[in-house]
């Protein structure tokens, strides 16, 4: 009995021991975890404080350098002194370099003219372009993308060829960043990469490219029609969309061919481009595609809208009239709208047709004739 109780006691003691050891391990881990959180939060706060101090200092120095240089004759020694101070500070830590680059980028977004040129010059004088180029050698794609964006924002044109190597990157973000950078940096041919481009062009890229092109000299814009025959469908759609946005009438002679494109999106966008460019001379060419487009609701709708806008009322109203009998309501509605807006004769044709068909289009006519909906 005694033996059994001593065995139980020993057994219990070892169980308690294990429990105590586990509790200690857990307790130590918890303390280490809390300690880690506190230390990382402290480090983060310190870093943020340091960043704020640096940002404040850099901004004041930048203000002085930009405003003084553009308004008065500042002694060269003053500029050299400020530059040396900045160089010493940015040379000390990568945090200071990053804060300075961020400030340069941030200010450059808001100012233009000679002040903006000073920022670009400072970027080079402080050797920060080397810092951004260094990011392209890092393994992380985020760092690479950040480097590319900095080089583009601060207009560092010698980086064009290095950035060009990323347009075939497997990483989509890197690819898109490099394309946008090229649009901004490559003055000779901002869209020349499209010649060999085999990737996709996302709506985000299209908007960004359009934004940058719209800020550049309109006379330097490329002829977008040169990419209408590209084997990359995305490039063709992009070129068409840009020709329409920038109203390039030089693209008009090449648009009829695109109406026969195997991809309906291209044919549809070509119709919209013809309409936007008001290419009246193509109206007859469009009517030849009536049969081919008839079964497509989208293409027929676009065809009718396009003819309504650019067609000659005397000739093309009869083509539009055919669409009043189209199986799709959207197409019929577009035809009603086009005829109603054309001229009195076209409007009368519409009303006669409606009477003949026992008023089946009355609702649509009422809708398009409502002044509040015009």
């Amino acid at each position: 009995m005694n033996e059994q109780s001593s065995f139980t006691a020993i057994h219990a003691t070892s169980e308690v021991r294990i429990f105590i050891i586990l509790a200690l391990i857990f307790f130590t881990a918890a303390i280490l975890f809390v300690g880690f959180i506190l230390v990382s939060r402290f480090t983060k706060n310190k870093r943020q404080e340091k960043e704020a101090i640096l940002r404040n200092y850099f901004q004041r120095t930048l203000n002085a350098m930009i405003i003084m240089e553009t308004t008065s004759s500042v002694p060269a020694s003053s500029h050299v002194f400020k530059l040396d101070t900045l160089r010493t500070m940015t040379g000390k830590s990568s945090l200071a370099r990053q804060v300075m680059v961020n400030q340069l980028v941030s200010v450059k977004k808001s100012i233009s003219g000679s002040s903006s040129k000073i920022l670009e010059r400072l970027y080079i004088e402080l050797d920060l372009h080397t810092y951004s180029l260094g990011k392209l050698k890092r393994d992380s794609w985020q760092k690479k993308a950040q480097g590319i964006r900095e080089l583009a924002e601060l207009n560092y044109q010698p980086a064009v060829e290095t950035i060009r190597t990323y347009i075939v990157s497997d990483n989509r973000t890197l690819r898109e960043e490099s394309l946008l950078a090229l649009v901004r940096l490559d003055n000779e041919g901002p869209l020349s990469f499209l010649d060999q481009y085999s990737g996709t062009i996302s709506p985000w890229m299209r908007i960004n490219i359009h934004y940058h092109l719209s800020k550049s000299d309109a006379r330097k814009l490329p002829q977008f029609s040169r990419w209408f025959s590209s084997s990359n469908l995305d490039v063709v759609l992009f070129a068409l969309s840009m020709a329409r946005q920038f109203r390039q009438s030089s693209a008009i002679p090449f648009l009829t061919a695109l109406l026969s494109h195997t991809d309906t999106r291209v044919a549809g966008l070509a119709l919209e481009t013809i309409s936007a460019l008001e290419a009246h001379e193509l109206a007859d060419g469009i009517t030849q595609r009536v049969e081919a487009f008839w079964t497509s609701e989208k293409l027929s709708s676009r065809m009718v809208r396009c003819l309504g806008r650019i067609g000659y009322t005397s000739e093309h109203k009869y083509t539009i009239l055919r669409y009043l009998d189209h199986p799709e309501y959207t197409v019929r509605f577009n035809a009603v709208q086009a005829l109603y807006k054309m001229d009195d004769e076209a409007r009368q044709l519409l009303l006669d047709f409606n009477t003949k068909m026992n008023g089946i289009l009355s609702g649509a006519i009422e809708h398009v004739s409502e002044p509040l909906l015009q």
Partner: protein, 120 residues
């Protein structure tokens, strides 16, 4: 002379304040969002307001409406915006803005426009 500069971009505010003080336009007060701008406008009389369009809480266009319709003041207002769309510009002038500058802008040009609006 008292000028209010409203923008959520601290770097830009800092630059504009520096430029305007260098040109001796007087005291330049900053507001980093629409709410602060409205509060400052209600508590002070400004000789000129420079405001961005896109700001937290209240937009620059709301600030213009507030000044013209609620405070009933004729203080000259310059709108700064990265958005140069025709309808935005027209809307700004329509509700009472006196000038519109598209970002990026030249600080020197801003100073000239301020001088013109202040009749200096």
């Amino acid at each position: 002379m008292k000028i209010l500069v409203c923008d959520d971009d601290e770097a830009l505010i800092s630059m504009v304040r520096f430029k305007l003080s260098r040109e001796n336009f007087g005291e330049v007060i900053k507001a980093v969002d629409g709410r602060e701008a409205k509060r400052l406008l209600e508590e002070n009389d400004f000789d000129l307001i420079i405001s961005d369009i896109h700001m937290p809480f209240h937009s620059g266009l709301e600030i213009v409406t507030h000044v013209r319709q609620v405070l009933k003041k004729k203080t000259p207002i310059i709108i700064l915006s990265a958005e140069g769309l025709e309808e935005t510009v027209l809307q700004a002038f329509d509700i009472g803005a006196n000038d519109f500058i598209t970002k990026p802008f030249s600080p020197a040009e801003l100073a000239i426009r301020v001088k013109r609006l202040l009749n200096l």
